[in-house]
Symmetry: C2
Subunit: 454 residues, 2 copies
């Protein structure tokens, strides 16, 4: 059997794989709302066992079940081991009215499947389970594989550190293939070597004990104004975070990183068109944009709510106002220390009345360009797509990759089935079905090369 046989078999099984993906998307699993996680984990156990994997649920108090699976290669010799990291939870589907079809219907239109979580990251899950099945049915995996899936990545992977720290040996591997890699805006395969960290907090202001008539605003404080002023104190129009010391641990890019950034294409026009943008933030272009995405700390208002937001006018003085804020961090930045700085700063600016509730604290991570898995994934990309892979030193996104890179000393890369216009976290999230199948071959070839290097 050659890897070409495996790839032919992936093509042959594509309908079966698409059916599997549809089934998984139709099972909602919204961690932020505690919806469907148990059912989704059960479904995945069934799919993994069906593929021949030895699978089990691992429990940590307070967390949705983790799913662990493994299969050893039948090839002779001591083989390398690859661990797949995935999450089966998805973002909330809201706002529902902006979807073209039901977010859990998994409708297929124009070669894409639409659904919440379809690309982030149920397609990767179904792809990886199937490629193990196909290797197994052809009787030889090129290396040992492990699966680790969690059900709370979208709400900050709170319990993953506990799970990993209590059984480091189980999870330590020679390489980790992360969720969420795939094709960029011009269908170039992209290998991502790192992720930003995150501090996600909720700010809440309260004045009166209950809402009242807005005529009283002449003499009663308004928490919405308090929140607006506090937010303005955190970041101004120059996008600079005003909290003292916020940038202290941010390192400049190395020459090697800068070269990788320069080489990496960034399709400004395509992205502007997709998002309907007149221009990028602060009139940025070229290398500035790439530096900001890979290495710029951000402060983002993800949600804002106070008072009445229905149709028409309501003359109410709200009693409560809250904001959700997402700060993206770089490898040396410590989310816990920054949380304390943020709290002290708000108190110092006179906003001690505003409660700061931490929801997510995650460190950033980066894998070295020199790792064997990086080389093999690039070679496999060339074989699969006939194109040179783009190397991204860091995603603009966040995940608990630092547990693998730093705690398990397991180099981690993102490759897989996603594509640039997938609308993850937004209405009409979708998965291109061609990339779903091609991405599966890419990962299969990467395992093949990585196994040979053992």
């Amino acid at each position: 059997m050659t890897i070409e046989t495996i790839c032919s078999r992936i093509d042959h099984d594509s309908s079966k794989m698409i059916d599997g993906l549809r089934r998984l998307v139709r099972q909602p699993s919204v961690s932020a709302q505690g919806m469907g996680l148990r059912e989704c984990a059960d479904l995945l156990m069934e799919m993994m066992v069906g593929a021949g994997l030895k699978a089990e649920l691992l429990e940590v108090d307070g967390a949705p079940s983790f799913i662990y699976g493994e299969m050893k290669t039948s090839k002779l010799g001591e083989k390398r081991t690859v661990i797949f990291y995935n999450h089966y939870d998805v973002q909330p589907p809201e706002p529902l009215e902006l979807w073209s079809s039901d977010p859990f219907a998994a409708e297929i239109r124009g070669g894409k499947m639409f659904g919440r979580g379809v690309s982030d990251n149920k397609a990767d899950i179904v792809s990886r389970i199937n490629l193990v099945r196909i290797f197994e049915e052809c009787e030889e995996l090129p290396c040992n594989v492990k699966f680790l899936m969690e059900g709370e990545e979208e709400i900050g992977s709170t319990h993953l550190p506990t799970l990993i720290e209590r059984d480091l040996d189980r999870f330590r591997s020679d390489a980790c293939i992360w969720e969420s890699g795939g094709l960029d805006e011009k269908d170039r395969p992209e290998i991502t070597l790192g992720m930003k960290g995150m501090l996600y907090v909720e700010l809440e202001a309260q004045v009166a004990s209950h809402d009242t008539h807005s005529s009283l605003a002449a003499v009663v404080g308004n928490p919405a104004w308090r929140l607006v002023w506090a937010l303005s104190a955190i970041k101004g129009e120059d996008e600079r975070i005003k909290v003292p010391g916020w940038y202290d641990d941010v390192k400049e890019f190395t020459a090697e990183e800068l070269r990788a950034l320069e080489e990496k294409p960034f399709e400004e026009e395509l992205i502007k068109e997709d998002l309907g943008l007149k221009e990028f933030l602060l009139h940025m272009s070229g290398l500035e944009l790439k530096k900001a995405l890979a290495g710029g700390p951000t402060a983002t208002i993800c949600g804002l709510v106070s008072g009445y937001s229905g149709s028409g006018s309501k003359t109410v003085l709200p009693s409560v106002a809250s904001a959700k804020l997402d700060f993206r961090l770089l490898p040396e930045q410590n989310p816990g220390a920054l949380l304390e700085k943020l709290k002290s700063y708000l108190i110092g600016q006179g906003y001690g009345d505003i409660e700061v509730k931490p929801l997510t604290l995650e460190k950033a991570a980066r894998t070295s360009l020199k790792e064997a898995i990086v080389h093999d994934a690039a070679e496999a990309a060339m074989q699969t797509f006939g194109k040179k892979a783009v190397i991204s030193i860091s995603s603009a996104g966040t995940g608990p990759m630092n547990l693998f890179v730093d705690k398990l000393k397991t180099p981690s890369i993102c490759i897989g089935c996603t594509h640039a216009f997938e609308r993850s976290h937004a209405p009409d999230e979708n998965q291109r079905l061609d990339v779903f199948i091609q991405g599966t071959k890419w990962v299969a070839r990467t395992l093949d090369l990585f196994g040979k290097g053992s």
Copy 2:
């Protein structure tokens, strides 16, 4: 028949009146949401005709039906005419989860009826229809009465000017008894002679065409930040509105007005306790509070919404953010001119991307202390409650009273059935049933005295 007979009859009929109020509250009539207005108008026609009034619906294109009613006194001689102004629409009931009972169940607990609109202002409506019925059943009204009710007061009385201007003679009267007067925090009868004006606008910011992953916030603008910064440019922590020229037409209080303000009690501790406040805005106390309520222009955020506001964290970059803003105005301030000033200011400050949508423009109004109806209402208050009436030169609230005071030259006062802790516009809005009955007597005695003065 004396007025004492009428008052006894009001006591005798109290259960019947409470039943009527319950029936009216159970008919939702939310103008902001277009809910139940037709049904509520039909119910009111039935109640008015049942009380012996000649009633009809008046239509203006695009408006909920207006209800007009009248009854002439059978007493000899040319009698004065009083017009009752009321509105049958109510505020939206949201947030529903903060109500102790269904907002349209009209539940009675502890001598109060709870429901959306019960005190603002369905109690006044039922009170006035019943007192006409009772006068009529005793065969003599002390003066002519007219009723005018609209169904869009809570969304800015948009079509009332059209109705009034096309038939000034029909509505012009010797005095107008407005909605919403009643007892203050210490159960003193309060006569209110004016209302603030209002400019209510919605600000909306949009950047991308759709929501996206918040990792892109490193390079894509965020409408929530745009909105926060624009709002901060409108008002700072000193509560001063920064729009140039905003205060140009604001007059200082006259000596007479100041005396009335000084005499008017303001129950700081009771109000702080009811609202759970540590202190009033800007540490105000005493006369400052009374001046702010009667004569302070305000800028109030009534609603704020962007992105995700459900439970947990969602890492989304919103594409749209909006705020509802309520500016209260004084007699000389022109809402249309101020709207233009606000728009120009935002453009000048670099916020031309933020759309300003006007929802309500209403001028302020004040009636002179010297009018006969003011004197008669004060005398009637003493007869009913055995207490000197408090004169309030202006409510902190808003209504289309300027159409009556300025356009119809009809002096207008607020007296009736409300009480200070009614929670109008907020969850658990309620009507004290004792005040409902006593307030009805107060208005009956006022009509009696005003009729005698003819």
